[in-house]
């Protein structure tokens, strides 16, 4: 097993999940993850593998041109999802679609640093790794994560509430 194969088997799942949550697109996430591992190939040595991989993946995502393009597609997808949800008779599908849409809105409402720190933490990166990947001081990661979690939950609950009100109004 080569080193890259080991890296891939160890971190690919977490990296793809992180990127999927970050981007809202599994294909794109896998594409970025692959690119991240390709870049890892070119490195002679990596100090903290996980931090390095997440940092590189995050930087790849920051490619503005790609981001804009994908965002448009993502928005189109969301619109499509909502249309599908409207005609979908199955309640579970509707709920899932609504959950996903609200979660996406809530996570997009966060500032970039909070969002990335949170997503990385969810993938098991410790505070030092997050600090290294995002170029933060280790002492500030706790504050960043606490702020990110609070805002995410509050934002999501607000969206849930407004959704419930719309449904109530529609029913009445």
């Amino acid at each position: 097993m080569t080193d890259v194969e080991r890296l891939f088997r160890t971190y690919n799942a977490a990296l793809v999940r992180y990127l999927t949550r970050r981007l809202g697109d599994r294909d794109w996430a896998e594409e970025v993850a692959q690119e991240t591992f390709v870049r890892a190939l070119r490195q002679t040595s990596i100090q903290n593998e996980r931090a390095w991989l997440f940092a590189v993946a995050t930087n790849l995502v920051r490619d503005e041109a790609r981001k804009d393009m994908r965002r448009r597609k993502h928005l189109a997808l969301l619109a499509e999802e909502e249309r599908d949800a409207m005609v979908e008779p199955e309640e579970t599908t509707l709920e899932r679609a609504q959950d996903a849409a609200m979660a996406r809105k809530a996570i997009d409402a966060l500032v970039e640093k909070d969002r990335l720190a949170l997503l990385m933490r969810e993938e098991g990166l410790d505070y030092n790794e997050i600090a290294e990947a995002l170029e933060l001081s280790p002492g500030s990661v706790g504050t960043t994560l606490s702020r990110a979690r609070r805002r995410l939950v509050e934002s999501y609950e607000a969206l849930q509430k407004s959704q419930e009100e719309r449904e109530k109004n529609a029913a009445s």
Binding site: R17, T20, R21, L23, G24, D25, R26, D27, W28, A29, E31, R70, K73, H74, L77, E81, R96, D99, A100, M102, A103, R104, A106, I107, L118, L119, R121, E122, D126, Y127, S140, V141, G142, T143, T144, L145, S146, R147, A148, R149, R150, L152, V153, Y156
Partner: protein
Amino acid sequence: MQHLDEGTIHSWLDGALSAEEAARVEAHVKECPQCAAAVAEARGFIAGASRILTALDNAPRGVIPVAAPKKRFDPLVWRVAATVLVVASASLLLFRDGGREAQNATLSADSARSATGPSAVTTIAPAAPNADAALKETARPSPTTARPLQAAAESKSPTTKQDNVSIKASQPSVGLTEKGVAKGVAGGTVTGVQAMAGAVSGVPYPGGKPSPASPKITAHENQAVADQDRSVTTGNAPTSSGYAGAAAASPVAIPPVATLPIAPQALRIRGAISRDALSGQTPLKVVGNPKMIGAKVTLYEVSPGDTVTLREELNLRLEAVVVTGAAAARQAPQSVEKSAAAARARHADTAVASAADSQRGAMESLRRAPSFPAPISRVDVTDGVTMISWVDATSGNTLRLSGRIPEARLRQIKIRLEVERAAAAAAAKQNP
């Protein structure tokens, strides 16, 4: 110990604190209900955030389209290309047919002229009418316009010879079938300007009797007219008078020889003829013909050291004449009126021309023609260079005359050029 901040609580819950710090926090939370509540809330946020983020794991695939094989061309491009091809092919066929029609129409118009005498010109649309209309006119010359005018012409120049000519010439022409018209293109188109010129100037057709063998004219039906024209154009007045007719009837711009592709190019200045047409003025001296695609450029020396440039934007479409004819066919009713007006003008000119039969008279009649001088569409003065633009009534081409001379003088030169061009057009008809 003061209360724990939220960051420290999350750090503790995430296991990011050192053992020493963690023990200190744990001790405080046990003693401090407020911080204990904050810890409970933080646990809720951590769990809630994780749950929310899990909802994002159901991200669909296929948002990024799998690299589809690139299409070489957009289907729309193919559609547009196909449309252009079809339209172009259809246009080519149509214009070709239209071209024959226009030429036939010209011949028919000439036939009508020869059948009814000078006044029959009034039945000709300024730009080639379609063949059917022209054939009808050929078969039965308009009684309303032709006859009174013919009578007038006869009264102005009551030569029995001319009457005879008209009658003789009309015999074969009236009987023309469509097939016959097609055959007669070469000869028929030659006669346009000259026939009118003769009519307008009131000069009788001295050589009006059909001559049996005219080698250059293939349509024997038109020989009479052609011969008349040849005689007429030896005089000076009819040539320039013909300008009025030329302006009124663009079909005459069709080259007499059908193989010439671009009709307007027949309008080359022929110094020998135009000299006669000018009222005492020497023709403008051509000092150069710079080659230019899409335009015919001629340099004239108007005085020693002074030159002007005449630029004629050529319509490079080979079927341009036909296009003009097709357009004119739609305007045929108006054209008849215009032709009638032109005929009236020519009729007025007739007195002058027949009285003097001089170059001066020809110039006069030319000036009185409704389209002479051609209206100037634009005047530009840039860096001392004056440029005037107008549309040549005969060819429809835009002409631009420019030079470092005052506008007034340029206008005079323009008029001279118009006369020369009209004369050259007439000459080109006679000597294809």
